[in-house]
């Protein structure tokens, strides 16, 4: 695999991100911040403590994580679709020495970087408007979850952007799979709210491993190794699947 080629594509994506960062940030921050203000602050008085912590603190890690993984997914899916179907730049990359795996890796890493930058931005805004401060050690443990989570969603984006030829289909996948998976994973409520029989199924979802594991890491500094293994295994499988699917599609 050509690292120089992959790096060139990633640098291109970062140049474009740098140019549009201010306008993008407003949109990226507005959505989670609205949810945070409405649920975390508006509903706080009605909900009280959840799992021993204020509701606004309970949902904060999930909102940061959601922003990061959503950004990773959106960047990968739309970038790949746009470059493949509209701008035909993927084809112009493919007649250079960069390999197909190099293109996928570049797009994955771009999605991951978008996620990281936007997640950090939302985290900073939330920390500005709330009194909560997470210790640096917790933040480091949190990254153990956020990194494979962003990679996983970036891979999902690459797969969708490779397989979907119509933009409306991409929107449907987001509405039917991505958002329900995020919301079902205990972003706004504890997993104990589910009926007992459903809890093992929900806990086996990689999104639960991400959101629940990330919350535990950020709030209490705990590392759930079960969640961590599930998350890393799924991210690795998704990466292999993304490269394989992209290769097959390009060979058509």
């Amino acid at each position: 695999m050509s690292m120089a080629g992959a790096l060139a594509i990633w640098r291109r994506d970062m140049l474009v991100l740098r140019r549009s960062i201010m306008s993008e940030m407003i949109a990226v921050i507005a959505y989670p911040l609205t949810i945070y203000l409405a649920f975390g602050i508006g509903m706080q008085g009605y909900i009280g403590l959840v799992e021993g912590i204020p509701y606004s603190m309970f949902i904060a890690p999930g909102l940061i994580t959601m922003t990061a993984v959503n950004a990773a997914y959106s960047e990968s899916v739309w970038s790949l679709w746009f470059h493949r179907r509209v701008q035909f730049t993927i084809e112009s990359y493919r007649v250079t020495p960069v390999t197909v795996s190099g293109i996928v890796c570049a797009k994955l890493f771009s999605g991951f970087t978008h996620g990281l930058v936007k997640g950090i931005a939302v985290g900073l805004v939330i920390s500005l408007i709330t009194p909560f401060r997470f210790p640096p050690a917790h933040l480091a443990v949190y990254l153990l979850f956020l990194i494979p989570g962003s990679v996983l969603f970036s891979c999902a984006g690459v797969i969708s952007g490779t397989l979907m030829d119509k933009p409306e289909t991409i929107g449907r996948v987001e509405a039917v799979f991505i958002m329900p998976l995020i919301f079902m994973s205990g972003l706004f409520f504890p997993l104990s709210s589910y009926p007992q029989v459903i809890i093992p199924i929900v806990r086996s979802l990689p999104t639960t491993a991400l959101f629940e594991g990330a919350r535990q890491a950020l709030v209490s500094g705990n590392v759930s190794f079960g969640f961590l293994i599930l998350l890393y295994t799924t991210a690795l499988s998704a990466f292999i699947a993304a490269v394989w699917i992209f290769r097959r599609k390009m060979a058509e």
Partner: protein, 308 residues
């Protein structure tokens, strides 16, 4: 001498559809080679295989001696490709588009900066190098795509319908640029414009239904079609009056009379003196040699039917 491009029994099938059928071609190094064919003839499939974007179903294709199936990366270092679509990155400036291409070819910064300066100058884009391609005219965008394909000094340049959609001025400008770089590399061009092939290409191949029909220089192809010389004679009066006189000449292969004009296909040009002698004393306003066009060759070989 190794050929620049060689294909042997190359075939590509999509289910029941055969896009390329036992296609054999050899393109020698240097010069401009033109590939003509109607829509659906298999030109794009062939160019996609040669540029390593697609694998053939069977047969082999070699670029500068490298097999496209097993040495695609080596081949991609040697080729420059101008696709049918502009495929420019609209979020990057013209210069940044070229820089990205240079980095994809792993060129060192010091060498690609100079090269990009040269190309922007050569293609008349230096003054607009920091503008985004969306603000360019169609002709300028096309020139930028050609410049991008040349950044890494390719040995073979593939031009897939490079002037489609351009106005005549822009088309001629692209031709001039292509001619100016022709000496330094092999250029493989596909086009719908027969005038383009006639103007640019030293050798031309015509394909249809996935098969190679014929190849040669434009002159050879025209001669092969006519087999003889074609003259047009304009008389002072109605040409029908000369039908009997002309009909008696054995070296006339084909005679068409229309108004005061006769179009005559001779077996060979030496017959012209016999023709002039036969018409001596009659009022002849003009005798002209009628050049066969490449379009006539093309239509005669591929038919007039519209392809989907």
């Amino acid at each position: 001498m190794t050929a620049a491009i060689t294909t042997r029994s190359l075939a590509k099938r999509y289910g029941n559809l055969t896009a390329l059928d036992e296609f054999d071609l050899e393109v020698t190094r240097g010069g401009i080679f033109g590939l003509l064919g109607p829509n659906g003839a298999g030109k794009t499939t062939l160019i996609r295989i040669l540029t390593t974007l697609m694998r053939p179903t069977s047969g082999t294709a070699c670029i500068e001696g490298f097999d496209t199936a097993s040495h695609s990366r080596e081949i991609r270092r040697l080729i420059g490709v101008v696709p049918q679509e502009n495929s420019l990155d609209r979020y990057l400036t013209a210069r940044e588009n070229l820089e990205l291409h240079a980095r994809l070819h792993e060129m060192p910064v010091t060498s690609y900066r100079k090269r990009i300066d040269e190309l922007l100058e050569l293609f008349g884009l230096a003054g607009r190098q920091n503008d985004f391609p969306d603000s360019y005219s169609g002709g300028m965008q096309r020139r930028l795509v050609v410049a991008r394909a040349l950044v890494h000094h390719p040995r073979i340049l593939f031009l897939d319908e490079p002037t489609t959609g351009l106005d005549p001025q822009s088309r001629h400008a692209v031709w001039d640029y292509v001619k100016s770089i022709a000496g330094s590399m092999t250029i493989f061009l596909t086009t719908h414009y027969l005038e383009e092939a006639d103007q640019l290409c030293e050798r031309i191949a015509i394909m249809d239904h996935g098969k190679l029909i014929t190849q040669g220089s434009a002159t050879e192809l025209k001669e092969r079609l006519t087999g003889g010389a074609l003259y047009e004679i304009e008389f002072g009066g109605n040409a029908d009056a000369f039908a009997a006189t002309l009909g008696n000449l054995s070296c006339i292969r084909k005679l068409t009379l229309e108004g005061n004009r006769a179009t005559i296909e001779l077996e060979h040009w030496e017959c012209l003196s016999a023709l002039v002698a036969a018409l001596a004393g009659n009022e002849i306003r003009r005798i002209s040699l009628k050049e066969r066009t490449l379009e006539e060759v093309f239509i005669s070989l591929t038919g007039k039917g519209v392809r989907e």
